[in-house]
Subunit: 119 residues, 2 copies
DNA sequence: TCTATTTATCAATAAGTGTTGAGATATTGA
DNA sequence: TCAATATCTCAACACTTATTGATAAATAGA
């Protein structure tokens, strides 16, 4: 992830419809959702949804695949990881306690319990 | 952190000068840097730097304090944490392995060695 | 007070972005 | 082929945002 990619990613996330789309796809998981479902969820026309998904795909935040008549979009999880890493790189500045809460917050999001991963 | 705050934050980060400012301040740590130093670092005029720092401060990503003739800016680390948490909330979708790499990446940024877990 | 220093505000211009609706493209089944 | 479905492309318009240079405000020291 370089500066240009990060700028594209943040620009993509700075628009209401697109931020909603990404969060919906992040929640949906790797299986993704069809363009039609996404359009309904965010209340966008087909042309408007296509415009925004194109922006997100160009930014590398989502990916698409074709299944029959439908286009299915899903979140690009590694890209999201890289974006977070880029933003917080060298955040410590000699003081690990400064950015450790960020790690804890993200960890809590992914693994509420540390014994069983069945959730 | 609600949707409006997240949109403002991502919009603030989607501009080259501002993204550089945030990363410089993230690296600099809580002590921060003066407006003059930041202007030199990113190659911006005083008016331009003021415009961008105002945007970042309004987005809650940085904070300012006055020391003599200088304004000193520093990163708002909790806001950055909240932004990451907002974006990745419920990212698992029943599959923790999907977003665990994000946690590992962020953790690696803050603690290159795991000798001491208490920081 | 006067001057140098540092930062912020303002207005004008230039550049970029989102929305809309019509129409095009691709797929499926008869 | 024809029709229905699902999605995408295109161009015009309105809206937002970044940059620039001049100027204003606040501070420190003499």
């Amino acid at each position: 992830m370089d500066e240009r990619q990060a700028l594209n990613a943040f620009a993509a996330l700075s628009q209401e419809t697109r931020l909603r789309l990404v969060r919906i796809l992040v929640t949906a998981g790797p299986d993704g959702l069809t363009a039609g479902t996404l359009a309904t969820e965010v209340g966008a026309s087909s042309s408007n949804l296509s415009f925004h998904t194109k922006e997100l795909e160009h930014a590398g935040l989502i990916q698409s695949r074709r299944e029959g008549r439908s286009t299915i979009y899903s979140a690009a999880f590694p890209a999201l990881t890289n974006l977070i890493e880029f933003l917080m790189k060298d955040c410590c500045g000699g003081r690990p306690e400064i950015c450790t809460p960020a790690v804890a917050a993200l960890a809590a999001c992914c693994s509420p319990t540390e014994a069983t991963t069945h959730g």
